[in-house]
């Protein structure tokens, strides 16, 4: 009989160490409970604070006794760093929880098939709905999409395929453009298009400003994707006698297809909930507006904004329901983008 070598994992924690770790965790919870009960401090903040200080002190004292000052510092920093991660996640959890908790009562059967033209802010929840807001948001996003996607992808192609003289400055400008505040984009369209030319609110005006915000997202993500396409493919295309145009159109872009879809979806997620320029440019009507080039048009962010500012309890519930719808929209977009991109971009 031959001996079978069992791989040992000297770095893995033994059950004993694991038990010590868990007991420290429990001890810190118990300690924070008693400490808060004994002293004047109160509230969730006090529990969390005492718990983390206690846990950090317990583990680092244990490490100090067993392994010296360096190990003590190390375990203390581990606690602090985990605290950072916990604090980062708490707001996300709170936002998701609140929106679902407060948004669900605002949902009803007609919400997706009614608009607000026949409902006021103090009406019962069952009156009215978000039809005008959803159609408006879809119109805005669609118009912004057809304007910004070609420009964004062309910019990315310039940076990756042509690599011309201006590649450096343009990369810099695209970065700068992604930092343009949304309200400034709104003011720009207001001053450059709405006042001198069209003189009325419309979905097109909103879409123009959203396109400005979307271009940099699309351009930067597409650039990353195109850089991942192996150069062998481009060389193969050229070696077969293809011109650069045909190589890019027939080989590079199809190879990057799912990545480019990701770029577009991330861009849409960026603009779907954008509020400030919408407030300046679209007028926020309460009826479904079939004409995207004239007349005020509602949208989800504007709907939420109006309901929130109306202030009555029904309106606030409507605002939360609107936020829930908007958040579901963004989540769907985001999850689709990630599902498409996991093959291409591994993070």
């Amino acid at each position: 009989m031959s001996a079978v070598a069992v791989p040992t994992k000297p770095w893995a924690k033994r059950p004993q160490e694991r038990a010590i770790g868990i007991s420290f965790f429990l001890a810190a919870i118990a300690f924070s409970y008693f400490f808060v009960a004994v002293t004047e401090m109160k509230g969730k903040l006090a529990y969390a604070f005492v718990f983390f200080v206690a846990y950090g002190l317990f583990t680092s004292t244990f490490s100090f006794i067993n392994r010296g000052p360096q190990a003590a510092k190390d375990s203390f920093v581990s606690t602090v760093v985990s605290l950072g991660a916990v604090v980062t996640v708490i707001p996300i959890a709170s936002i998701l929880f609140t929106v679902i908790q407060k948004g669900v009562p605002g949902l009803h059967f007609g919400i997706l098939s009614n608009d607000m033209s026949m409902a006021t802010s103090t009406d019962p929840i069952a009156n009215g709905g978000v039809l005008h807001a959803i159609t408006g948001t879809l119109t805005l996003v669609f118009l912004a999409l057809i304007m910004s996607v070609p420009i964004g992808i062309l910019t990315a192609l310039y940076l990756t395929e042509i690599k011309g003289r201006f590649a450096g400055p343009i990369r810099f400008l695209v970065q700068a453009m992604s930092g343009v505040p949304s309200i400034v984009a709104g003011l720009f369209i207001l001053s450059a298009v709405l006042y001198p030319i069209t003189k009325s609110f419309s979905a097109l005006m909103g879409a123009l400003s959203l396109a400005i915000l979307m271009i940099p997202t699309v351009a930067r993500t597409s650039e990353e994707v195109l850089l991942l396409i192996p150069n062998d493919l481009r060389e193969a295309g050229t070696a077969l006698g293809g011109t650069q145009w045909r190589t890019v159109a027939m080989i590079v872009l199809p190879a990057a297809r799912s990545g480019l879809m990701t770029a577009v979806i991330l861009g849409v997620a960026r603009i779907a909930g954008e509020t400030a320029p919408i407030l300046l440019l679209t007028g926020g009507g309460d009826k479904v507006n079939p004409n995207p080039f004239d007349g005020s048009v509602g949208s989800l962010p504007y709907y939420i904004w109006k309901a929130f500012n109306a202030g009555s309890p029904e309106a606030i519930t409507r605002a939360w329901a609107g936020l829930l719808v908007l958040m579901i929209l963004v989540l769907i977009l985001f999850i689709t983008a990630r599902a498409l991109s996991t093959r291409k971009i591994s993070k």
Binding site: T88, I92, I151, L154, F172, I183, L279, P301
Partner: protein, 326 residues
């Protein structure tokens, strides 16, 4: 039929691009230049619209705190005072509060993600944090107003109670609602995902051989981070913080919902009176007269230039660290 037909004419070899390629390169280049055009047009149009007000107010547009306009019956301007200083101070105050809160938290969570978290947890957390960066700002604004603000006011009272002797934390009169501190906390929550993902990427570029060398010499995890990761990533984190600052300065809706706008310079973080250029535009836009709109355009120009400068510095810093790592 002669033999010559079977022999193709020798093709002329040249490096001159074909016509299709010339068109292609032209189209792509012009598309690529669009960002330059858009940025240029933004500056041009806002300056053009705001020129009248800027000329009227001169340097006072930056240094005065008043924002008032008086019209007679036929909507002619009788008297107008436009000054942005209270708003600029407020903008800077809110965004600095945000950065001061967000940077340590983001750096810690980036360190946790890179060096402490198990692989499965890291994957989930990265997805969740990236998703948070895509949340619309109105969501943060309303959540901040209805859910977060009561707690933050309580924290502000605690800070005032124990640190009130520092001039920055003075509160007089005793009024904590809708203060720059509240806006700063909401902004901090908005920029944490951005700074975290920039820091995470910079930390991930820390040279692996040096990390392994540190461990081989018996360093603990923290000793390794102090010796290798932090020196490598320091300036990248500064750049990420600047990106967050730029984002915080330009944020409109989230700040507007939680900030009490007062046209008076206020450096006391916890006092419920603040200012913000972007929120000013939303606040005044609804009932603004034609002349006031011009002043708002000028305010937009100031905001645009401010964020442009902050972002440019940030990008230069981030880029230069990316290179020095290799």
């Amino acid at each position: 039929m002669s033999d010559t037909a079977l022999i193709p004419q020798p093709r002329e070899i040249s490096t001159e691009p074909r016509r299709s390629d010339k068109v292609f390169r032209g189209v792509v280049t012009s598309g690529g230049l669009s960002s330059l055009v858009v940025l240029g047009l933004i500056a041009l149009f806002l300056a053009y619209r705001g020129f009248e007000v800027l000329r009227e107010e001169g340097l006072g547009f930056i240094t005065n705190a008043d924002w008032s306009i008086t019209l007679d019956e036929s909507a002619n301007v009788v008297e107008s005072n436009f000054g942005l200083s209270a708003m600029l101070v407020g903008t800077i105050l809110c965004s600095i509060v945000a950065v001061v809160i967000a940077v340590p938290i983001s750096v810690f969570s980036a360190l946790y993600l890179n060096f402490y978290a198990p692989a499965w947890l890291k994957r989930i957390l990265v997805a969740v944090i990236d998703m948070m960066a895509a949340f619309p700002s109105i969501l943060f604004g309303i959540w901040g107003f209805l859910v977060l603000m009561p707690s933050v006011e309580y924290w502000a009272k605690l800070i005032n109670k124990y640190l009130g002797w520092i001039p920055l934390f003075e509160v007089e009169p005793y009024f904590f609602t809708r203060s720059p501190f509240v806006a700063g906390v909401v902004l901090a929550i908005m920029i944490i995902p951005i700074i975290t993902s920039v820091s995470r990427e910079i930390f991930a570029q820390a040279p692996l051989d040096r990390i392994q060398a540190a461990f081989a010499l018996g360093a603990t995890r923290w000793a390794m981070i102090k010796a290798v990761v932090i020196p490598h990533g320091r300036s990248g984190v500064v750049g990420g913080a600047m990106l967050g600052l730029g984002r915080a300065m330009g944020e409109t809706v989230a700040v507007y919902t939680v900030l009490n706008i007062v046209f008076q310079i206020n450096w006391h973080v916890l006092l419920g009176a603040g200012g913000n250029v972007a929120s000013l535009i939303i606040l005044k836009f609804g009932e603004a007269s034609e002349y006031e709109i011009k002043a708002l355009m000028a305010a937009g120009l100031v905001l645009f230039l401010l964020t442009l400068i902050v972002n440019a510095i940030a990008n230069v810093i981030v880029k230069s660290t990316g290179k020095s790592g290799r």
